[in-house]
Symmetry: D2
């Protein structure tokens, strides 16, 4: 089965992923982790919420932490090119029979929510630049949110769904025996991905990623985490993925939400960019350098608010297959 | 005078800068410089031309060197979103009374040329990825062409002209006394710039830039150049610009064409991204760290084929003003 | 049992480790590995030998590869402060009842050999500096040989033996239950170690290490090895040891000789520097960041020419204990 | 005139430079600079003194700041191999007719002072290691004091004086016309220098240097200084010296004491290491990459307590000659 061609002229224009809203069970512990270790800047907080942004971002938030009794992901946020795109998105998802709802969000303009819990907005409060306020940099010194990665029970369907409103695939893994897509990386913003899908019990969030400029950011973070009580929050890495050529580190927040620190990337603005195909049996697609990932990395993920995850439609061993 | 607002809905869709065609007087000397020092990969060559690409590029060429009796820049190339954009561009420039011409270009599809010598195409021969063929990396290990920088005799006019077909300004320098724009950085691809303009005798090319991932690429290049006979080709840097926050190095090729090695950058895909304004009297906009640029950097540039440069409409000392 | 105090006024003055002579079974394969991957420079070669040096070294060789039918280590070489130290060493080892022999070595002056196969010399042919010939740098760009690491069946005895002729311990692992030393790092040259000892079937060489200035050298090497057919020669890393604070990578040459690429270190010239003690039960002494080492790393080593290895006197599981 | 041969068997054994005592006029301003910018750790302070150490040091202090009405350097401190070396040093300097005095120093054992204001000690209070307490790292993240650099009115004499008690020259600049030494780098600890001498009005301190592991430490510092009010304290760099191959940055403290941030270096423990000779007319010895140093760098230095500086015995222009 060939990779579904993305719609180059989608009904509405999404420009990039924007933010994630996650429930956490201990707001103080999360605050410490997200500011001291991840190095995000607090832009607002109250007893139940913390809003954060990365160092080059001027939108109000890329992460919202929300106090709750269980850890889960509530919202994946995306920004559209203009206000009209929101109305077009409303019509588009309605036409598909998806639930759509206009919701109120602090610091955002009109916001459209659908299910799975994706929201679209155009306007967000804009903040003064801080990327040259170097004394504020700490932790891993993250510059921006980079992408979401999702467990999907049927990646072929995920690629078709997102591709229809414009998400273009840059790299993918195919199971050559079955012709099924095992994993796919899709984007709007001109990098390797805004959102990626990996075969598994889903939909669940595998990780949210933040971009840093050099591998030394990651090495500094490892030294910091391993000497400040966070050594068990280091899950995998450092390493380089064959797919995307990313230098990576995977860590977990106090609730087990997985975070990737992501370095490298390449420019993908060409609409005729050929997706790079990897074979499921090629071990270097996962780790160019050959080190195996721990089992937790293949199995654990964050549940989505209000969404029941289901088993993958594919039957291969997740350890072999990822 | 306020910064002219860019047209968010231009008549045609340019996605990025693509390539530069430069005349050089000694093809063998240029070949050595562009491959050993700059580290570009040759994709084709004959007695009069060398085609080159950077390590993450899959289009056939980002630089064409052309043997000639004098050094000059012949073409600034840009890629459009699709083929129809070329026809729309033809109509657009014709409507402005600009010369337009369909030209034949090796390795490119239909190509539209106007004046100043800008060309637009959609299709270029695609090559297999080499970004993970690490043994090919050499010189400064450039990943992609990043931007053009032009001397302009009237930057207000340049910003208005390019803005009308969609180039959005990310940062600019204003002369607060006169209200005139001294310099501006404009983009299509979602980075700080595809093309920038600086006040001066023009139009001439100030430099063409290539992107590298870390400052250590630049330090390695300095060590290499200074011990292989190229020490006098190092013009300025390393340093950091206040504007764009770029870690930079300026070098000159054997004909004096200036090349920037450019590191850092930030994501600018938001259409509502506020341009950052710098004052002409702020010395840190030029060099955050305070080191002065040499006079040559303010005065020397590459002439454009078939275009007479004229003096700037502004009168300030170029040394003070840049 | 306390750590044996080193002799601060040894009978003779050894200034540093100098070189290793290793038998390899395929000289052409080793030549490619040691020059393209490790990046050492050939200083001489014939049908049966290759002499190599690292980039900042001016002595003729830090590695001698010798064609043979089996892989083994033939010589660990050390340099003395002056010629008289050789005579003093002769008297010293004779006094211990050790075998001593004056041997002929190409490119070296008078050379004293004892058993285990350690040799001492003062004079070696000196070569012109190449550390600023940047175009010669390749592979991991090694600056100098850094240390040997040995499996020892009785580390207490090893520390006492080497300490008596002046090797001072900088860090060590103690089994608090038995009071036995599990591993120790000892030096002469003012870094963390010239030679280290780890409990295990020995004496065998665990690895020989080369020093590089930044973690990026190691990351570049990983990218190179994993895309040029050497992915299976990557054994462990990158990571940071708790002990020595080294950023490390372990790779194997075509015969399985283990090589560490070693970055970081600290200055240890103070004779009153307090050794840092680690407990055998502290997992971070091995890997500060928490990733486990593969079993091969605890078990495999290079045999020494003419020396029978014997089991360790300690009984703990090598996996737990290392 | 050939370079004076160092005494390989000096009367007493100095192992390394250790610390500097500097008078500063505003202790609060200096405290802020030395901790926030330079990143040293305070080990003690009172109303008139601040004691500081770098991150890998276990001796109590490498810098003592002393409140005073004028900026000057009071003491250059060196550590000996043992206590007996202090008595031998006393005899040695007495024999030369130099003033010698046993002085009391906080946190140090017996301390011998001579003139120029050099002091020798063996024992200093030892502190617990902090090099793996990564959350303490800040500013440029200095690992250790590296060297002193002095203006000398007669470098030939300085090299002869220091060489007689064991300081070995690693690199030097000779004026080939006159045969005079223009500058020299001498060491005890096995690096390029513990103390260097440059022709000029002296004795004065040109700078004191701190060692950092990578050029990125220096780039981070430049970004920090230039955005926290210290841009005018950046004097020269970043760059690479031909001599010593150091990647460098020169900054000035609030009183104008010059500090070098020093990266790279090479191992020099071989007593037969050949000094590298540079010609006074070779511009790359100063800056491998070709950028000129500012005039201040050639002319300004810190006066020494109780020592009158005198003009150089050499007559060349300092701008040309350095």
């Amino acid at each position: 089965m060939p990779l579904p061609a993305p719609n180059l002229y989608p009904d509405f224009d999404t420009i990039r992923l924007s933010h994630v809203n996650m429930s956490v069970t201990d707001l103080a512990a999360s605050r410490k982790f997200y500011t001291d270790i991840l190095g995000l800047q607090i832009t607002d907080e109250d007893n139940n919420h913390i809003y954060l942004r990365a160092m080059e971002e001027r939108g109000h938030h890329c992460v919202i932490l929300q106090k709750d009794t269980e850890a889960k992901v509530n919202i994946f946020g995306f920004k559209t090119f203009d206000e009209n795109d929101l109305d077009k998105a409303h019509a588009y998802f309605s036409g598909l029979g998806r639930p759509v709802e206009w919701v109120e969000r602090a610091y955002q303009g009109r916001t459209l929510m659908t299910n799975p819990p994706i929201e679209f907005y155009h306007k967000m409060d804009r903040l003064a630049p801080i990327h040259q306020k170097y004394k504020l940099y700490k932790g891993v010194k993250p510059l921006r949110i980079d992408h979401f990665n999702m467990f999907s029970p049927n990646v072929d369907e995920s690629v078709a769904f997102w591709g229809d409103f414009g998400f273009r695939t840059t790299e993918y893994t195919e199971d050559e025996e079955t012709g099924k897509i095992w994993a796919a990386w899709t984007h709007r913003k001109g990098g390797v991905h805004d959102i990626a899908f990996t075969n598994g019990l889903g939909p669940r969030m595998h990780h949210v990623a933040f971009w840093v400029p050099t591998p030394l950011n990651i090495i500094d973070l490892l030294d910091l985490m391993s000497t400040t009580g966070y050594v068990s929050n280091i899950e995998r890495g450092p390493g380089r993925h064959g797919i995307s050529n990313a230098f990576f580190l995977y860590i977990t927040d106090p609730d087990g939400h997985r975070i990737e620190i992501y370095c490298s990337d390449y420019q993908t603005v060409d609409p005729d960019l050929e997706p790079i195909k990897w074979d499921l049996t090629d071990p270097q697609r996962q780790t160019l350098w050959g080190a195996a990932a721990p089992r937790s990395w293949f199995e654990e993920g964050s549940v989505l608010d209000g969404v029941e995850a289901r088993d993958s439609d594919l039957k291969a061993s997740p350890i072999i297959a990822h």
